[in-house]
């Protein structure tokens, strides 16, 4: 296996009774990247991540994590991975520190406790607080902290910012970027598209148990449809612009036009040179709009 490939999944399938959670997921995540795994609830994000850790077993296909088969050598895989479950549940009988120390013992005390304190300060988390007294958001911080504290080679995070306030979401995203800079590969699932757009280099979009798209975030956005609003100095017939390949006229009046452009803007800009232009605005779609386009099939949202 190529050593730059940290996660490899080929044809992963998984069913829960009649529900087909994964229908042949193929995935490659490369060393050192931040990979955003997008999909709505029930699309198969959590199932994929749990298969990678051998918490559940796929029905078909195979996976390699850090070059290892999680089903053959799960302990070796988990020793090098930091994991945050989507449904994080902590042991209420512990304090934050007690919980972290227990989990650290399971890793044979691999965590650097100075780093733990540093993380807890950044996450504004008091280590002596009993878990049972923590809010949902603070429990999530414990989850993030335990995943990061041993500086793993690979982070598998299922909705890492879930339940956090916007400031803390930014802090966590910043931590992920720092971990990446230090050499960690980050694979995280989310349905908050703005955060994926902010930190991820590539995204995979999963829909009804199948990966429907994997692309660079920038490329995904640039190759998709964008809108152009043109205002003219004098009355024109904007319908002529529809002759430009890839351009569709959405609406027009005598002094303005709203156009949809697929691919390069070059043809439109050249065509507009013949018009008396007052100004031109273009809008790139957000990742959210692209994502929704994948799910808006036959007027229905996916799962």
């Amino acid at each position: 296996m190529d050593e730059t490939v940290v996660i490899l999944a080929q044809g992963l399938t998984k069913s829960y009774g009649r529900v087909r959670a994964l229908r042949g997921v193929d995935l490659e995540v490369h060393r050192g990247e931040i990979f955003g795994f997008l999909g709505p609830n029930g699309a198969g994000k959590t199932t994929t991540i749990r298969c990678l850790l051998d918490v559940i077993r796929p029905d078909g296909g195979h996976a390699r994590v850090l070059g290892l088969d999680p089903q053959v050598d799960p302990v070796a895989v988990r020793a090098r991975v930091g994991y945050l479950p989507g449904e994080l549940r902590l042991d209420d009988s512990y304090t934050v520190e007690g919980q972290l120390r227990f989990l650290n013992h399971l890793r044979s005390g691999k965590a650097d406790w100075e780093f733990v304190r540093q993380l807890s300060r950044r996450l504004d988390l008091e280590l002596k607080t009993p878990i049972k007294n923590l809010s949902k958001g603070n429990k999530q911080k414990v989850g993030v902290l335990q995943a990061l504290m041993h500086r793993p080679e690979l982070l598998l995070l299922d909705e890492p910012t879930f339940g956090l306030d916007p400031l803390m979401q930014q802090e966590v995203l910043g931590l992920l970027s720092e971990m990446q800079a230090a050499g960690t590969t980050v694979f995280f699932s989310s349905h908050i598209l703005s955060e994926v757009q902010e930190v991820a280099g590539r995204v995979g979009i999963i829909r009804m148990g199948k990966l429907v798209e994997v692309a660079d975030v920038a490329a995904l956005i640039s190759r998709s449809l964008r809108r152009a609003r043109v205002r003219f100095k004098e009355q024109v017939d904007a319908r002529e612009l529809e002759r430009v390949p890839g351009v569709r006229l959405l609406s027009a009046d005598k002094l303005s036009a709203l156009l949809e452009v697929e691919g390069e803007m070059n043809g439109l800009v050249k065509a507009l040179a013949a018009f008396p232009i007052r100004d031109l605005d273009t809008e790139r779609p957000s990742l959210e709009e692209i994502f929704l386009a994948y799910y808006a099939v036959d007027g229905k949202e996916g799962e």
Binding site: V75, A79, L88, R89, L103, L106, R107
Partner: protein, 283 residues
């Protein structure tokens, strides 16, 4: 594995102390009556002669209740498999399934610990807890014996706890296996609890109704020695109980190695609805 073992012990500490100290107090209390019972043996024997033999047989060898082993059987060891069986069933069914159902097992198993080590750590903690509860109870008897003329050594007094430990191990392992097979811990606990109660009654009733003897052969408590173990262990029965327990535990381990770990709240068993809830009225 020792991390899991220590964690399990820490979590069950209060429960174990609660059971152990309660039984120790009961043991001490029971021992205070032994001398009185022996002193009034003649009168009591006359009284017991009037009781139906079926009733006396239900509680074991009624005529031997004036001997140390008969007294221990009647007052403590005859019904302890039922009382402590409930503890064993709850502990066994929750050994892994309670963490799975509350969702904490997902995070633990994402750490570098194999399922086998986790299983072993938890199972050893269960064995240790049973040992501690019985040891505290035994201490209660030892203290109580100082106030009586019961002629048993501390070692002899400890022997009936061995078959008791063996049946608790069996009930705990059965509940553990049930929790691996069934979709919910409480269902496993309920079914294993039914086995405990059923076994107690079948074994007891088989003493008075020989038609039940064939059924009683399948009852674990048929091979439980009770207080009679003071006179010497029945090694065949003891090893049989331990062997079946080991088999049940091995099956549970085998299933745990192969099963998917559920996330919190997933796939819980509920009492099936016998009637359908009326649909909410449309607004």
């Amino acid at each position: 594995m020792f991390t899991v073992f220590r964690q399990s012990l820490a979590r069950s500490r209060a429960t174990v102390l609660g059971w152990g100290l309660s039984l120790a107090l009961l043991s001490m209390y029971l021992m205070t009556f032994y001398d009185t019972l022996v002193e009034q043996q003649a009168g009591l024997q006359q009284l017991l002669a009037g009781y139906p033999p079926e009733l006396m047989s239900f509680f074991g060898s009624g005529t031997e209740m004036f001997t140390p082993q008969g007294y221990l059987t009647l007052e403590f060891f005859s019904y302890m498999p039922l009382v402590l069986g409930i503890y064993a069933v709850l502990a066994g069914s929750g050994l892994l399934a309670s963490d799975e159902e509350n969702g904490t097992l997902d995070l633990v198993l994402a750490h570098p610990i194999s399922r086998s080590r986790l299983f072993l750590g938890r199972f050893l903690a269960f064995l240790w807890d049973v040992f501690v509860i019985l040891a505290i109870s035994w201490v209660g008897f030892v203290i109580g014996m100082r106030w009586t003329h019961m002629e048993l050594s501390w070692g002899e007094l400890a022997i009936p706890f061995i078959p008791l430990a063996a049946v608790l191990l069996l009930f705990g392992s059965l509940a553990l296996l049930g929790s691996m097979l069934l979709p919910a811990r409480r269902l496993a606990a309920m079914l294993a609890g039914l086995v405990v109660v059923g076994s107690f009654f079948v074994t007891s009733l088989a003493r008075v109704d020989e038609n039940l003897e064939a059924v009683a052969r399948f009852s674990p408590l048929n091979y439980y020695q009770s207080g009679d173990a003071v006179l010497g262990l029945n090694w065949g029965w003891l090893l049989g109980l331990i062997g079946v327990s080991a088999l049940l535990a091995l099956l549970a381990w085998w299933l745990f190695e192969r099963r998917d770990i559920r996330v919190g709240g997933e796939g819980n068993w509920r009492v099936p609805m016998l009637w359908k809830k009326p649909a909410p009225a449309e607004k």
